[in-house]
Symmetry: D2
Subunit: 246 residues, 4 copies
């Protein structure tokens, strides 16, 4: 089966990434710089590295209550190995768990030229459209999103998409009794657009940033001595047929 790739090859017995010896990258680049170099194919500017660091740290870990963490911990508790449990955690990052980054990016791309942002918010509210990148199940204000925008300003990535996102947040807030703050998905989406990334790869930054969190949770569970994690019967409501056993 033929494969084509522009990423990495072996040349004269050396691993070469984007035309540079991997051994050289190890000596000259930080992990974040190397991530940028691998994904984009050129060296990052200092401000790009700073912004990317913040984006990856933002995704690092959101606690054991994040479904990816509970799944990864449950999977290791049944006797699986670390990589299997981390993989199960990554699998859990579906459309509703980190997946809003891409959807929010598409929303920003489609609407950032809109003049009447308040009108747009009203129209979407009337249509009961749930706008991706806004609102959070647990947090009323998303400090991490605020920090990302502050760092975007500092590093000169606070352009048209970020402006639109913040304006739209205000417009939503004016319409709603409960807070609908821009969340980390929305902030990541706006800033990654400013940095020139395509929506289709954005979830990748969330995965890369969250990988250490999943490793940490899995290792904590592995070494807890707890054994299998399973729901108590008290947590389960049976709503089905209650027949007779013969």
């Amino acid at each position: 089966m033929p494969w084509k790739t522009a990423l990495t090859t072996i040349q004269d017995g050396k691993e070469m990434v984007r035309g540079r010896a991997l051994a050289q990258l190890m000596e000259t680049m930080t992990f974040t710089e190397a991530i940028f170099f691998l994904l984009i194919g050129r060296e990052a500017e200092t401000r790009e590295t700073k912004m990317l660091n913040a984006l990856l740290v933002a995704a690092l870990d959101h606690g054991v209550g994040a479904p990816s963490a509970t799944v990864a911990r449950t999977v290791v508790s049944t006797g699986n190995s670390l990589h299997t449990a981390v993989a199960a955690g990554v699998l859990t990052l579906g459309e509703l768990h980190g997946g809003a980054i891409e959807a929010a990016a598409q929303f920003f791309k489609n609407h950032f030229t809109e003049k009447d942002i308040s009108g747009l918010a009203k129209k979407l509210k009337a249509e009961k459209v749930r706008v991706p990148g806004f609102g959070h199940k647990v947090l009323a204000v998303d400090e991490r999103a605020k920090m990302l925008f502050a760092l975007a300003r500092k590093n000169k990535f606070h352009g048209r998409y970020c402006v639109f996102a913040e304006e739209f947040e205000k417009a939503l807030g004016a319409l709603s009794s409960k807070p609908l703050p821009i969340n980390i998905d929305g902030a990541m989406a706006a800033i990654l657009l400013e940095m020139g990334f395509a929506p289709g790869i954005m979830k990748g930054f969330f995965i890369i940033g969250r990988a250490p969190g999943l490793v940490a949770h899995v290792y904590e569970q592995m070494t807890s001595g707890e054994g299998i994690k399973r729901a108590d019967e008290s947590e389960i409501e049976y709503t089905g047929e209650t027949g007779k056993h013969v």
Copy 2:
């Protein structure tokens, strides 16, 4: 189902990692520093950060021929989403693909006080034990392992485990016609031991370091326009019954 964790919690509406606000970590730490902080619970020294950067970059990507990359690319080619394909790549990191790190670390821990290293090598060769962390299917010398040891020296992590690993490499080489260089798994194991990590978490660094490589491969495949990747019939040899169809 009750969960205990010392990693991350929500306090006063803020995500707190190891007692620090995540938003603060985003402002003050690089991704690598934050990984160390999350896993260990204290700030890294500069030499620890440098060493960890090199270890993570070493694992970044080893090309499309690595089974984790071919699996991840095949999985996305059948119409799966990015996170699903990356998870499949992580799953592929079994005992024989990155898994030697932990086994090598156990080997080093069990034998680093050995005086007669040449004798140990002879004994293991006679017993046909395949020592984890030495040899490579494709590379004759593993440049990345050499670089890791050089950087370990530079950053003062070249202690007893690294000395043992290099001595054992020499002893193996003296016994064998084909090269059995210390490979990246072996070098990572020795250095992570020097840094104080337990063998059970070491595979985690390989996963964290490789996550960007998997993302890059999956995205490259997704955007290739190729459709499903499947083995040609010419690659398949049927060795079974050839009956009659009725």
Copy 3:
């Protein structure tokens, strides 16, 4: 975390499935009957059991060239355990690999009342819509689809959806130089609709039917003594930067 289920509970120390003791099902039902009973909540009629048997056997295995099989075999070859490799195979069953069942079912539901089937086929061809459930990368005629329709006829499940599917196959064939036979996804979709299943669960039958095939492939690979499966360098074309290593 609360869970609600109507499937299975423990009552008086006995596992009860849909109101019947599991131990009783073991004594009185075949596997196929039990699958139907679990999914639907009532006993299958004989014709339903026969049809379901044929549908599940149709999905049993399509050879090592199916991406789910190559992935599962590659994953076990890196030292993973059987269940991990089978899971990787199931993951591979994306939209383009078994996923057409649901899409075909939606297509049949939307169009089965169409009077002018030939006109519909022309219109879709003109719009370059790829209709799910028709065509096959390898096979010119899909014997399994033919057999499914024959058995549907025999068991009185050849109703309006099957009639539409066969008419549409003819209409497509009349327009095209290369064959676009109804394939196994299309046939399963039409017949599962006749049996009263919702499109959203149809992929599940493909997974259930294919699970034995994945187990068989993984076990064959595990016991082959081959070691890691990886792409040859000759199969890989590097299209990227060829820089200088320093």
Copy 4:
């Protein structure tokens, strides 16, 4: 990459499984018969089919409290598709969740010729060895195991391994205050040995039998309208640093 297989091939444009046209198997075999034929390469005797039916039904579903079910349901709740969630459920079937089948089979193979079974039980108890295949977290008597042995007797599969397993259960019971009944893993192991299967493939029967249960749970969750399943904060105990946020 070359592949060898004795399972399935395409011959004269027809899918051939073990030398027979798949389309023919669809017409002539039940799903259970086809599973046996695929795995073994010969037609099952009637008693083999009956026994295999019971073994597969035994594994069908053990409720939402089984970690594989909670994981699969959580994974679909985050917006994943059915096959992804089922795969996550299969991943959860680690050493401590269905994995005891293989370990129990090894135990039976190693000890079934033992004359002094009571002495063996005492010795293992003294050494605090946890014998695989005995004991259950929730059930005091495993009805399903009892039924499997009854059906093994009826179908003439109650040979030396089953006799040993039941004798060992008695010996364990005589030593212990809490019940240590033979569980479903132990019963499956003993009977699959009687049927001639190797320990390494036994987990496969558990996976095949459980696949419909996972599909049923995932579909029930998908159609529940519940949204993301996540642990309540009240279920999480934070045991780490409580620092100050700046």
